[in-house]
């Protein structure tokens, strides 16, 4: 059979920006697919708007287009590149939807492009709920009772038939967006209407509830010869009712007999055959009634998915890579299983001899107004995976890997001795929020029986028994005290997965002392290999996890090694950008002859692909777990500055334990992070910071605030992503902030910075080497003013309004600071420029979120160069001393999850809330900005009424923007104050009521579709609350809006550029730079 020779070039569609429901697992699968097809000699063309990905590295594909993923743009790419085939199954829902659009709009036919991997019919049958139900019925499989509604009236009729609770699922949305569970008519109306609106085809499925049923997933791979294998089965700990992306999941399935497992196996293969997934990977989800074993099919995805990434990491079987090769005609038996060094073919079913637990990570702390109850709509932003030889061990490892301050199954803090406490506990068990896993343990602490916990939570008793085991053991440990810990007992506890830190808590000692005791007792972990075959065949692949057993299979080498510490689970503020950096470090140092060792616990990433580094330890990034690896491997260097805050937090302790941290010293990192030390440094070298102070109690905060003057940016120390950061305008504001938002104490002081109104914010990324040479990677001018978190603002490279003198001044200042901090590696600086004065907002001597964007824009692989600098090669030795400043503009645009969270205000502020980013490139700033907006799926406003309402401080700045709006043929509507100001300045404008002023008001206008674009700036808690409904309604009605005047100005300018324009591959752009 072998591969097809009738196709020469293949277009792969990526998944676009990281959003909830579609995260960096698609970078992992897309990058694998590109690699696999290039390896086979095909010309690979890639489109993905997300610059933070490995797949958009120019080395990954022959032509990389960082362009909007919509059929119109992709058609232009197809017209230019003329690929023979499109592979749409690697880019999640985005990839599939785009492929369907290309097919429906005749593009594939016009350019004679073949869809490989999944046919149009198969995609449709899997995605269209009604077609799917009929198909399942054809093959004798049951689905939950359900019907499709196109109107709310139809929905109500169906609801009566299926009863309450009712599940509502919109068609063709990501991660169940807009879906939910309705327990009553009111909820049903709200969710059904929202679902109809959010579905791109205005269609919802109204479905019988199978809440509380057991949930399973099967990862299936099929080739064109109809060979089918199950790569992995997954059992959800959280029963039906919680989206699988939000569920704790375990592999393999634990509570099925062989007969029941084989029934699911047969059914999932039958589903693939029926849907017509001819080649590639798919995921089929089932519900099983725990009482009688009744099986229903929930859904299937005819593409690689989040689950298939998890299954790949859980088993060592690279689903995406194999799926890509099957798509070009190979059969499974023609492909090798790489993990066994090719000893065995890919046509087998992996078998594992450990337990895998995945736990989602949420970001509700960023969205306090959102409802944190888990439903069928996915809300988590990341996940952690852990492996252990028992479920107990794997669960406890996953919990500590989550990095949410838990060391295991810690108590929730609920008072379990009171009736109120118990009532709360029971509700938390019944209606889960992200912390249910801890409530399950608390339930046993409260003395509930396993059966009681089961009837409340419907978590299978098999899992609950493990929770009970852990809680009972914790009680024993507490009761017996530290003296009872002999080697045997210590080993037993470690085998159950207890962390040193958790044992220390239980025994009233500290982690270091406990670790010392453990090591003195000779209780150390061993490392087992992930080999896809349960040791039946020898493996040469060093993919490992720790456990407490007899035999260690790590076999460290004597080579010079560098350990790269990864970023752990994705969260807002620390995501794919850091994984990108870690991967680059590993690749660069591997090229230079080092043995590279990756430590990470995020299954979605490229860094945890077993062939990214020489060795992979799939381990939590806690001090305990990292120290054990370093102790075993004895590396020459440890890189802590690439994985975000996660490894940075460990830097000092690692250094103290003798680990060879390379690059910028942990002390310098601390110097940059410690406000007071940093302030002294800035004063010493004669630079400026906004006036700032550190307060250790509420009174001190008020006193210091008056000293500096309002407005103030306030935040707790040591945070990433602007957690709990706010701008306050008065004593009252500050008092409220201290009361509600933070706990101020000596150990956790609150930082006060003078807020610089109307300042231009700039990010600068540089690399410094051991000799103090500095290479500027890029200067990025933000579009939004200072005050919006840098991760949430859009920015332009090169700057679009800064003078070259100003840019030189920034270069001078960053170099001074880099030398003063003795930076070796990357450093990111955030400046605010007010008038001609440059203020330093923040310096981070580590990889920053903007590194991949800068690298894509300039063609300079910053993370690689910096890694080499850390390993001792100077910039000169690397031949990279010159800053690259492109002629073209690259704009980065942030992507927000506001639609997923009802009641959340989409206003931008100092707290980072974006989940991802896109990049737009153009010959002018306006063109690049327009492209970025298009990539972000922000609607270009059609001609019509523009609503403006701005705070007083912005009125003067609004004026020119308002005039430009009118010049472009729009009309203006404004609320009282703004309208009056505009009229006084000769700008024609209609007046409209604020919501509080009576009807009709602005929200009525938005609802009626009369507004095409909104400019709304505001300040202060009260004013923000008043205008909330405007922004929320705009979001819901998909009316484009700007919450800063600078953003509005950029958008208005970009209106001149929307629409067509040429598409550029990264390779072409980078060629210009070298010309």
């Amino acid at each position: 059979m072998a591969k097809r020779t009738d196709i020469k070039s293949i277009l792969i569609i990526g998944a676009g920006p990281i959003v909830i429901g579609q995260a960096c697992e698609f970078d992992y699968s897309g990058a694998q697919a590109c690699k696999a097809l290039k390896e086979e000699g095909y010309r690979v063309i890639l489109v993905n708007s997300n610059p933070a990905t490995i797949m958009t590295d120019p080395e990954t594909a022959d032509a990389v287009y960082i362009e909007p993923i919509n059929w119109q743009t992709v058609e232009r790419i197809i017209a230019k590149e003329r690929p023979d085939a499109v592979l749409p199954t690697m880019g999640g829902q985005t990839g599939l939807n785009c492929a369907l659009d290309l097919a429906d709009n005749g593009v594939l036919e016009k350019y004679n492009v073949e869809l490989i991997g999944a046919s149009r019919e198969a995609i449709r049958m899997a995605e269209d709920r009604e077609l799917f139900r009929v198909a399942m019925k054809d093959i004798g499989l049951e689905c939950p009772k359900a019907e499709v509604a196109k109107t709310f009236e139809q929905a109500v009729e169906i609801q009566v038939k299926v009863g309450f609770p009712t599940i509502i699922r919109p068609s063709f949305t990501l991660g169940g967006s807009g879906g939910g569970i309705a327990y009553n008519k009111e909820e049903f109306e709200e969710i059904a209407k929202r679902g109809l609106d959010l579905s791109p085809v205005h269609e919802i499925l109204v479905e019988e509830s199978v809440l509380g049923w057991k949930e399973f997933e099967m990862e299936v791979v099929r080739d064109k010869a109809d060979n089918c294998i199950i790569v992995c089965s997954i059992e959800n700990l959280d029963p039906m009712g919680v989206h699988t992306g939000d569920s704790i999941t375990v592999a393999p399935a634990q509570t099925l007999t062989d007969k029941e497992y084989q029934r699911l196996r047969d059914a999932s293969i039958a589903v693939l055959r029926k849907i017509g997934v001819d080649t590639g990977g798919s995921n089929v989800q089932f519900g099983i009634n725990a009482e009688d074993g009744r099986v229903v099919v929930i859904e299937m995805n005819p593409r690689v998915s989040r689950s298939s990434a998890l299954a790949s990491k859980a088993t060592g079987f690279p689903i995406a890579k194999i799926a890509a090769k099957l798509a070009v005609g190979y059969t499974l038996d023609e492909l090798k299983n790489d993990i066994t060094g090719g000893l065995t073919p890919a046509s087998f079913e992996p078998t594992i001899d450990y337990v895998v637990t995945k736990i989602p990570r949420f970001a509700f702390e960023k969205f306090p107004a959102a409802d944190a109850r888990l439903t069928t709509q996915m809300k988590s932003v990341g996940e952690v995976m852990a492996m252990g030889r028992t479920f107990h061990e794997s669960l406890q490892k996953a919990l500590r890997g989550l990095e949410i301050g838990k060391t295991g199954l810690n108590p929730t803090g609920l008072d379990l001795t009171t009736d109120d406490g118990l009532a709360v506990l029971k509700r938390e068990l019944r209606e889960p929020r992200p912390d249910r896993v801890f409530h399950l343990a608390d339930a046993f602490r409260a003395g509930l029986t396993l059966d009681e916990v089961y009837s409340l939570s419907r978590v299978d008793p098999w899992f609950l028994a493990a929770f009970e085991d852990i809680v009972l053991t914790e009680k024993e440990v507490e009761a017996q005290g530290i003296a009872a810990l002999d080697a045997l007992r210590m080993r037993e506890l470690k085998r159950m997965g207890f962390s040193d830190a958790r044992l220390a808590e239980l025994l009233d000692t500290n982690e270091a002392a406990l670790r010392h005791l453990r090591r003195t007792l000779g209780v150390r972990p061993v490392y087992k290999r992930v080999d896809s075959c349960a040791a039946e065949f020898a493996t040469t692949t060093a993919y490992m996890y720790s456990t407490y057993e007899e035999e260690c299979e790590a076999n460290p080498t004597n080579r010079d090694k560098i350990v790269v510490l990864g970023g752990g689970p994705n969260r807002i503020g620390q995501g794919i950008e850091f994984d990108y950096c870690c991967v680059h470090a590993a690749l660069a140092l591997r090229e230079d002859g080092f043995e590279t060792i990756m430590v990470n616990c995020n299954p979605e990433t490229v860094s945890t692909d077993y062939d990214t580094s020489d060795r992979l330890y799939f381990e939590p990034l806690t001090l305990e777990d990292v120290l054990e690896i370093i102790d075993l491997e004895k590396p020459k260097g440890v890189i802590v500055q690439y994985g975000g805050q996660t490894p940075l937090k460990l830097a000092r302790a690692l250094e103290a334990a003798g680990a060879p941290v390379i690059g910028t010293s942990p002390d310098s990192i601390d110097l940059a992070e410690d406000r007071e030390r940093f302030q002294q440094m800035i004063e010493k070298i004669g630079l400026k910071q906004p006036p700032n102070r550190t307060a250790r109690n509420a009174d001190e905060a008020l006193a210091l605030a008056r000293e500096i003057g309002y407005p103030l940016v306030v935040r707790p120390s040591y945070v990433l992503g602007g957690r709990a950061m706010e701008i306050v305008y008065s004593d009252a504001d500050l008092t409220r902030y201290i009361r509600e938002a933070v706990q101020v104490s000596n150990d956790s002081p609150v930082l006060l910075d003078r807020f610089l109104d109307h300042a231009v914010e700039v990010d600068v990324d540089i690399i410094a080497d051991a000799e103090g040479n500095v290479l500027v990677g890029g200067i990025m001018e933000h579009i939004e003013e200072a005050g919006v978190h840098s991760g949430d603002s859009s920015c332009s490279l090169p700057p679009y309004s800064l003078t070259s003198e100003m840019q030189d001044e920034l270069r001078r200042q960053v170099a001074m600071m880099a030398r003063e901090l003795k930076v070796i590696g990357l450093m990111n600086t955030q400046f605010a420029i007010q008038g001609d004065t440059v203020f330093i907002l923040e310096v981070n001597p580590r990889a920053s979120r903007t590194v991949p964007f800068v690298s894509k824009a300039t063609g300079v692989p910053l993370a690689k160069i910096a890694a080499r600098a850390m390993a001792g090669r100077t910039l000169k030795a690397q031949g990279t001393t010159k800053e690259v400043i492109p002629e073209y503009y690259s704009v980065k645009e942030a992507i927000f999850p506001f639609l997923k969270f009802q009641n959340v205000d989409p206003i931008l502020g100092p707290e980072m809330r974006s989940t991802g980013e896109v990049m737009g490139v153009g010959r002018s700033f306006g063109a690049a900005f327009a492209r970025g907006h298009e990539a972000a799926s922000i609607k270009t406003p059609p001609k019509g009424k523009v609503f403006v309402s701005v705070r007083d401080a912005d009125k003067a700045r609004l004026l020119p923007v308002a005039r430009e709006v009118l010049e472009r043929g729009f009309s203006l509507v404004a609320t009282e104050g703004t309208a009056k100001y505009l009229a006084e300045n000769g700008v024609a404008c209609e007046r409209i009521n604020k919501v509080a002023e009576g009807r009709p008001h602005i929200v009525d206008l938005i609802k009626n579709g009369e507004i095409v674009y909104i400019v709304n700036t505001t300040e202060g808690k009260a004013a923000i609350a008043d205008s909330f409904s405007i922004r929320r309604e705009a979001l819901q009605q998909r009316v484009t809006y700007s919450t800063t005047v600078a953003g509005a100005r950029a958008l208005v300018h970009s209106l001149d550029f929307h629409g067509d324009g040429e598409v550029h591959s990264l390779q072409e752009l980078h060629k210009e730079l070298n010309a």
């Binding site: 059979m1 010869a225 109809d226 060979n227 294998i229 393999p252 634990q254 509570t255 099925l256 007999t257 062989d258 007969k259 029941e260 497992y261 084989q262 029934r263 196996r265 047969d266 725990a290 009482e291 009688d292 074993g293 009744r294 059969t331 499974l332 038996d333 065995t344 073919p345 046509s347 087998f348 079913e349 992996p350 078998t351 594992i352 001899d353 450990y354 337990v355 030889r389 028992t390 479920f391 396993l450 299978d460 008793p461 098999w462 609950l464 028994a465 493990a466 085991d469 087992k528 075959c533 349960a534 040791a535 039946e536 065949f537 020898a538 057993e549 007899e550 035999e551 299979e553």
Partner: protein, 378 residues
């Protein structure tokens, strides 16, 4: 406090753990099985006679045991070696916990050991003889001596030991999970099934094909079987060294000569090979798992199969009238063959699955087709 247990291997390796079954001692050949489900089927599979089975999946006993999933009337494995038996089984069909079941059947079992280390030893050194002891007084040296005293399976005829004493008839089909009952298919063919240690699911799948089955003892002469005027004869799986089953080899030779439709599985496959003059050999550590890819040489399809054998037919010694129908994609070993001049075929793995995938269940259709053809032509 848990009861201590240890496992000693003839190479001197000793593993300490705790008892999860009966106390006492047991010896046998230690083999590993990589199937993640189906421990009850494995324990009750007669092919595991005189073998101490280690299951590579660490949690064993998750779903307890039930009545329907047994592959014979009792536990045949000589002992069980696992990493962990969870405290509480959970499954809607579970009627008893695994430890209770093991104790009731007097099966010595050990948990808490590094089963991956054990598996790696077996992979590198081949199947080893071992001894599990469980109880208050356990002595590693004594266990080691017993392990070393075990003669091994080479040359050991176990088929006649596990076989049935007298013939019986079988009509039940497979277990239907939806109806929670065994099927009762209509009967089309009369089949005699040699019991060398037959698994119930083989009989069930034969019944699904419409076979009215008479299960006969291992040493039943061919003439007695032919006298029953069956439409076909089935040669079952079973334990031990096939070469030691001279009576079965002789009977099979006669059956082949009679040109009656013949189907062999596992030991039955090896016996058919021996009856044709081929040789069998002891494999290093055998095939024991539910994930083995086998290629169907006729259409190139890959089937994921259940495997459980420590001996294999050497394909180089097969006569000219044999056509290889299936080969292992793990090691290229012979997995199935058919005769070109007689209605006989056989398979080394387990088309009846249980535990394992159903991919190669079509062999039962093939047997039915041969019988139908013989009837039509006859």
């Amino acid at each position: 406090m848990p009861i201590s247990a240890l496992l000693a291997l003839e190479d001197g390796s000793v593993f300490h753990g705790h008892a999860v079954g009966a106390t006492g001692e047991t010896v046998g050949e230690v083999v590993f099985n990589t199937a993640m489900t189906g421990y009850q089927e494995i324990l009750t599979d007669p092919s595991y006679a005189k073998q101490l089975v280690t299951l590579t999946y660490p949690h064993i006993g998750n779903t307890g045991v039930n009545v329907e999933d047994a592959e014979s009337d009792t536990v045949h494995a000589a002992g069980l070696i696992v990493r962990d038996v969870p405290r509480r089984p959970s499954n809607w069909r579970s009627t008893e916990s695994l430890p209770d079941y093991l104790k009731r059947h007097g099966i010595v079992a050990i948990a808490g050991i590094d089963t991956r280390r054990l598996t790696r030893i077996l992979r590198d050194k081949g199947a080893l003889n071992g001894c599990i002891v469980a109880g208050e007084q356990i002595d590693a040296e004594a266990a080691l001596a017993k392990a070393r005293a075990f003669p091994g399976l080479n040359g050991m005829d176990l088929a006649k030991v596990v076989s049935v004493g007298e013939s019986y008839s079988w009509n039940a089909g497979i277990y239907d999970l939806d109806r929670t009952a065994f099927n009762q298919p209509a009967k089309r063919f009369k089949v005699a099934a040699y019991d060398f240690g037959v698994k119930h699911n083989i009989l069930r799948l034969l019944a699904e094909q419409g076979c009215d089955i008479t299960v006969v003892p291992a040493q039943t002469p061919a003439a007695d079987v032919l006298a029953m005027k069956p439409d076909g004869v089935f040669l079952s799986n079973g334990p031990g060294d096939p070469a030691a089953c001279d009576y079965a080899i002789a009977a099979t030779r006669e059956l082949l000569d009679s040109k009656i439709p013949l189907f062999g599985i596992c030991l039955g496959h090896q016996i058919m090979g021996l009856a044709l003059g081929a040789k069998t050999l002891k494999m290093k550590f055998g095939h024991h798992g539910a994930n083995h890819p086998v290629k169907d040489m006729d259409d190139g399809r890959v089937l994921i199969t259940s495997q459980n054998h420590g001996f294999a037919v050497d394909p180089a010694t097969l006569p000219a009238n044999v056509r290889v129908t299936h080969a292992s994609l793990f090691d290229g070993s012979l997995q199935g063959f058919a005769l070109t001049d007689r209605p006989a075929f056989c398979f080394q793995g387990h088309p009846e699955a249980s535990p394992g995938p159903h991919d190669i269940g079509y062999l039962f259709d093939r047997f039915a087709a041969l019988m139908q053809e013989a009837r039509t032509n006859g």
